[in-house]
Symmetry: C2
Subunit: 290 residues, 2 copies
C-alpha cells in the first residue's frame, strides 16, 4: 500500500493510495479522508462512496465537499476507483464511456474478455475493506455505504446482499434497475452474458423482490437530471420498497441535474443520515442485554 498524496483538509487528511489488487490483477487507487478523530488515534466509522460512470477516485474527493461534515462527524470516507485500469485491461471496443474502463458496474464479470480483470464486486466487498482495515484507522464494525448513479446502484446492491454489514445505505441519483435500462443491459450483458437470471444479484429492485432487506434507504434525485427517465428510474425502486415494506426516503430535488453540484448540495444530509445510524448501531452494541 503506497500513499501517493496527503493533504490537510478541514483538520483531517485527504490521502490517495495505490495498491496491487489480487482481485483485479491490476494496480488500483482509492482516496481516503481521515477525520481529525482518526489522526488523533481513534478507530472511526467508515463511509464508502461509490462513484458513477467515467469517474475515478478523484471526482468525489475534489467535488463533493464531503470532508467538512465528515470531519465534524468523525467519519472516514473511502472513495474507490470505478474499474480496473492499465495495460491488458480491455475497454469498450468502440471506446464508449458507458462500458469498460470507468464503468465496472460493481460486478464480478463471468464472460471473456472481461472476467479476468473486471472483479469490482469482490474488490469492493472483500479485498478493499480488508486493506483499509489494515492500513487505516477504520472501525469496520461500523460502516455505511453510498454512491452516485452507477455507484448508487453499487451501494444499494452491495448493502442488500450484506444485511447487517452496513448501518446505513444511501444514494444520489442511482441506477435503480440495471435489468431495465440501456446502461445496465449493455454492461450486464457484456460482463455476465445473456442469462438475465444471473443479473438479478446486481439489480436493487430484483434483490428486493427476491427477499433482500435493509432497514431503510435514503435516495436523492434531481428532477432536471437528463438520465432520470431513461436510465435511473427511481419509481422502480420506490415500487419494490413499497411492496417489501422497506422505508425509502426518496427526495425529488427540484431543478437539480446529475452533476456533483447536485451531490454537493445534499451531501451533508447523507452524511448525517449515516452518522445517526452508525451512532445507533454503536449504542445498540454497548447497551447491556436484558
Amino acid at each position: 500500500m503506497e500513499t501517493l498524496s496527503r493533504a490537510r483538509c478541514f483538520g483531517g487528511e485527504q490521502r490517495v493510495l495505490r495498491h496491487r489488487s489480487a482481485e483485479t490483477g491490476t494496480e488500483m487507487r482509492f482516496a481516503a479522508f481521515l477525520p481529525p478523530q482518526a489522526l488523533a488515534g481513534d478507530r472511526v466509522p467508515v463511509v464508502w462512496f461509490l462513484a458513477g460512470l467515467t469517474c475515478t477516485e478523484e471526482n468525489f474527493t475534489v467535488k463533493a465537499g464531503a470532508q467538512r461534515v465528515a470531519a465534524e462527524l468523525g467519519l472516514l470516507l473511502v472513495a474507490p476507483d470505478t474499474s480496473p485500469r492499465g495495460e491488458g485491461v480491455p475497454d469498450d471496443p468502440q471506446g464508449a464511456w458507458d462500458f469498460g474502463l470507468g464503468a465496472g458496474f460493481y460486478v464480478d464479470a463471468t464472460q471473456d474478455p472481461w472476467a479476468k480483470h473486471y472483479r469490482m464486486r469482490s474488490y469492493i466487498e472483500r479485498e478493499l475493506p480488508a486493506l483499509v482495515g489494515a492500513a487505516l484507522p477504520a472501525d469496520l464494525a461500523r460502516q455505511g455505504i453510498m454512491g452516485h448513479s452507477m455507484g448508487g446502484h453499487g451501494a444499494l446492491t452491495i448493502a442488500l446482499r450484506h444485511p447487517g454489514r452496513y448501518a446505513a445505505v444511501s444514494a444520489f441519483a442511482p441506477i435503480c434497475s440495471p435489468l431495465r435500462c440501456p446502461w445496465g443491459e449493455k454492461a450486464l450483458g457484456h460482463y455476465l452474458g445473456p442469462d438475465r437470471a444471473a443479473w438479478r444479484q446486481y439489480d436493487a429492485t430484483a434483490l428486493i423482490e427476491d427477499g433482500a432487506r435493509v432497514p431503510d434507504i435514503l435516495v436523492d434525485q434531481g428532477t432536471a437530471d437528463g438520465f432520470l427517465d431513461t436510465q435511473l428510474k427511481p419509481r422502480l425502486l420506490a415500487e419494490a420498497c413499497g411492496r417489501a415494506g422497506i422505508p425509502l426516503t426518496l427526495r425529488m430535488q427540484d431543478g437539480y441535474d446529475h452533476s456533483y453540484f447536485f451531490i454537493a448540495s445534499v451531501m451533508e444530509d447523507h452524511l448525517r443520515w449515516h452518522a445517526a445510524r452508525l451512532e445507533r448501531m454503536a449504542e445498540g452494541r454497548s447497551r447491556p442485554r436484558a
Copy 2:
C-alpha cells in the same frame, strides 16, 4: 454573452459563461454562482475569486466548496479565467506552467509579443465587471475580491489600486511580492520589461509602500505549502502592512499545503469576512447623515 452551462447548486445556480473580450481580443470564459436571492430577483453583492497559476474558471467552481455559504449569505461569486487563450495567444516558449497561458498575473502587458492579448488587469478591473453588471443580477456597488496564489496577488493589488471599490479583500496563500520571487520576476520581466519601477503597481507590498491603503486584509497561509518561503513570502506583506498601519489578519494554518483542500477548509471564514464588510458598507450607505 453565451451561457455554456447551468446547474442548480445549493438552491442557487452555477453557470459558466463565454463572451468576446475587447481587452484580450479573445473569447473568455468565466464562472458565476447565483445565490437563491439572485434567482428570486434581488441584485446581490459580488465576490470575485481570482485563481492561481494553471487554473481556469473551473478550479474554484468545482473544488472550493464556496457555493454553500455563498447561498446562505446571498453572494454572487464570479471566477474568471487566468489568462487569454486560443489561437494566436503566445505561450511560454518552453511551455512552462508558470508563465503565459494560465498565468496572466493580472497585468496589462506592455512588451511584445504579450501586449496584444495579455490584458488581464483591464479585463478584470473594467471590462468583466461591466459585463457582469449587465448580464447578471449583480450589485456592483457592493463588491469583495479574493484570490489564491497568483490570484491572491491579483486580489490584493486590484483592491489596493481601487480604494473604496471593494468592501473587503482577502487571499489564500497569495504571492505577496512579485518583485521579490522567481514567479513574479519571470512574469513581470516578460510582460512589462526590465524597468522594475513599472512593476510596482503589480506588487502589493510596493503599492503599500507607495501609499496605497485598504481598511483591512485577511490572509490564510498553510505552513506545509511548498511555495511558502520561495514564492509567497507573507512576511513581506506583514511588514508592509505593519509599517503602513493596515490591519492584516494573517493566519498561518498548521500543516496545510497549497491545494484547494486548503482553500476549501478556510473558504467559509473568508466568505463571512466579506459578507460582514459588505453588510457594514450597505448599512453605512443607508444610515442618515447627522
